[in-house]
């Protein structure tokens, strides 16, 4: 049994996984026949079947709880158990968004305080908790940029500049807002090429989006200069806060000249990734942009907490207030750590990444041999020369019991291995990873075949993605119609 079957295979007629109460009121007349469905084809399983099936599936997964998960820019840190318990308290889990405000003052207080904490942490003046993921927060930022310029009557502005190392969501978001995207090249140090920026920063540019530190894990020391240049020419400087883990409690985005920034609660603030969400991507802005924030915001007056809409709000991003269940966890995290604790996070995450960098740089090509922040980007270039691809290295790491780093991103590095250990990993774990990577480098020299055919120890091996794309099989079918 286990995972080799799908729900329809396990299904048997007349089974049910949950008991339901009898109807305790007299039945009413049914609606007209043409509104009703004739047949409902869903699987029928007992509770035992459901549990065994999903438990079997869970065992095929590798999570942070399983082991080291050094995906660059994902900040796969440990998810505290306390947060899970708190989010399930009925006073947080069983409240309706449209209940009267007086009956949810605890929830509103939590959101209000979180708004404040995030503004303080990022060095901004106002926060919206509405965006439900980082990309959603980026969308809010760019819509905000558009609204800002529109209000000032700046009609010409139609471009957003992003660095060549930027995450794909940056240009995708800009396009969703009707902007053209131009790419600013990096220099040999991995920093923004200031000369190029200088020539590209003209009256058509509405904003520049920077990830700080960048996706190479490097802090661009020219930030003050970049900020000056962008602002002088009438643009806004937007931050992608995905890499905040390296700056927590130490550096404020606001001080660097950032006008608006989105943060990821499911990265920096320890809420679980869930296999792809739920996340939460609040945005924080300077005072002059606060009027454009997505609605609603939580405000406080002498009567208590309430929702308000900023005067020139870009509008709603969701039918309620954002992912409250995720906010609860991030709130608990900040209250657990305090300012000192946050600083320990960034300092230890940067220490861990630099340790990995030093120990592995003899074995893997390091495109930028300088101090990194919370992540380090290696290249599989040396191994490529022996016919071993970064993909092979990643697959072989699975055999050693590790989740591989992010591969083939950022695009500016050939055969990239973007590695972010986070602060929640011990020196022993890092040493074990280092040993595995050294072993793999040796294998690339002595026995490349074992890398080409890796992984060897996983439940499935080298899935045929070409077939999946050429012959899409995206669902099973039950019943005659579907």
């Amino acid at each position: 049994m286990g995972h080799h079957y799908l729900l329809p295979d396990i299904s048997r007629p007349d089974r049910i996984g949950c008991s339901l109460p009898r109807l305790d009121v007299p039945p009413s007349e049914l609606p007209p026949e043409e509104l009703l469905r004739q047949e409902l084809y869903l699987p029928e399983l007992s509770e035992v079947d459901v549990v065994r099936y999903f438990i079997a599936l869970s065992k095929l997964n590798y999570g942070v709880d399983t082991g080291f998960y050094p995906l660059g820019s994902c900040t796969m840190k440990y998810n505290p158990r306390l947060h899970e318990d708190i989010a399930q308290l009925p006073g947080f889990a069983s409240i309706h968004p449209y209940q009267p405000a007086k009956s949810v003052q605890g929830a509103l207080q939590l959101m209000f305080e979180l708004q404040q904490y995030l503004a303080e942490i990022t060095g901004m003046n106002a926060t919206s908790l509405a965006p439900m993921a980082g990309a959603h927060g980026e969308l809010a930022s760019i819509l905000l940029v558009k609204a800002y310029h529109h209000t000032r009557g700046d009609k010409l502005l139609k471009k957003i500049l992003v660095p060549d190392s930027s995450h794909g969501t940056n240009p995708a978001t800009a396009a969703m807002c009707g902007f053209e995207v131009d790419t600013v090249p990096s220099d040999n140090e991995g920093n923004v090429d200031l000369n190029s920026l200088e020539s590209m920063m003209n009256e058509e540019v509405a904003a520049v989006t920077l990830t700080i530190p960048n996706t190479l894990g490097l802090f661009d020391p020219q930030i003050a200069e970049i900020s000056r240049l962008v602002h002088e020419r009438g643009g806004l400087l937007c931050g992608d806060g995905a890499n905040l883990n390296s700056l927590l409690g130490k550096v404020k985005f606001g001080d660097l000249g950032i006008d608006c920034v989105q943060v990821n609660l499911h990265k920096t603030f320890s809420t679980p990734h869930g296999g792809g969400g739920p996340g939460s991507g609040p945005i924080c802005v300077k005072t002059n942009l606060a009027q454009f924030l997505p609605s609603p915001l939580v405000t406080k007056n002498d009567k208590g907490y309430t929702f308000t809409t900023p005067p020139k709000s870009i509008g709603r991003l969701g039918a309620s207030y954002g992912n409250f269940g995720v906010m609860v966890k991030a709130y608990a995290y900040i209250r657990t750590l305090g300012a000192e604790g946050l600083k320990e996070v960034s300092e230890n995450s940067v220490l861990n990444a630099n340790y990995l960098k030093e120990k592995l740089k003899g074995y893997y090509h390091l495109p930028y041999d300088r101090t990194c922040m919370h992540e380090v980007v290696f290249s599989g270039k040396k191994q490529k020369a022996k016919g071993v691809k970064t993909l092979d290295i990643a697959k072989r790491l699975l055999d050693y019991g590790f989740h591989p780093p992010t591969i083939y991103f950022p695009l500016v590095v050939n055969e990239a291995l973007m590695t972010e250990p986070t602060e929640t990993e011990s020196k022993e774990t890092l040493d074990a990873y280092i040993d595995a990577m050294k072993q793999i480098a040796r294998e690339a020299d002595e026995n490349p075949e074992i890398l080409h055919t890796a992984p060897h120890n996983t439940p499935v091996r080298r899935l045929d993605e070409v077939r999946a794309a050429r012959q899409p099989d995206l669902r099973w079918r039950m019943g005659k119609h579907y």
Partner: protein, 133 residues
């Protein structure tokens, strides 16, 4: 390797002239090897007009999308249904069975702007050198 009688664009499309002002268009061997296994082709419908060096379609592999540019201006007469059904043909036989569209040229002098086979070979060699740096 690259057929001598074909003409080539810098975006790695080829055109093979046919009698009566027609031409068959595809992508080169270099292009298909860069793309990887082709999984989907998006071609302009028969009857539509295309313009020289403007985008007329897309070719997708598992991990990349590439624009398809028209080597010359004209009207689409026919698209290769075999490739639609079996995108792998583009990888297997890019100059033959993997052809993509057949055009009726509106201005055959546009062919002069394209590279001949030798020039295209040089162009690709240079790209290969740069790539290995």
């Amino acid at each position: 390797m690259n057929p001598k009688e074909y003409k080539y664009t810098q975006e790695h499309e080829w055109i093979c002239s046919e009698p009566e002002n027609k031409g068959k268009v595809g992508i080169t061997d270099y292009a298909q090897s860069q793309l990887g296994d082709v999984v989907f082709v998006d071609l302009p419908p028969p009857g539509s007009q295309v313009e020289q060096l403007k985008k007329m379609g897309e070719i997708e592999s598992v991990k990349a999308v590439s624009d398809l540019f028209a080597p010359v201006s004209g009207r689409v007469l026919e698209i290769n249904q075999a490739v639609i059904n079996e995108p792998a043909l583009v990888n297997q036989d890019p100059y033959g069975d993997g052809w993509l569209v057949r055009l009726e040229l509106s201005n055959s002098s546009e062919l002069d702007a394209l590279m001949d086979s030798d020039k295209y070979d040089e162009f690709v060699s240079r790209l290969n050198e740069e790539g290995s740096e």
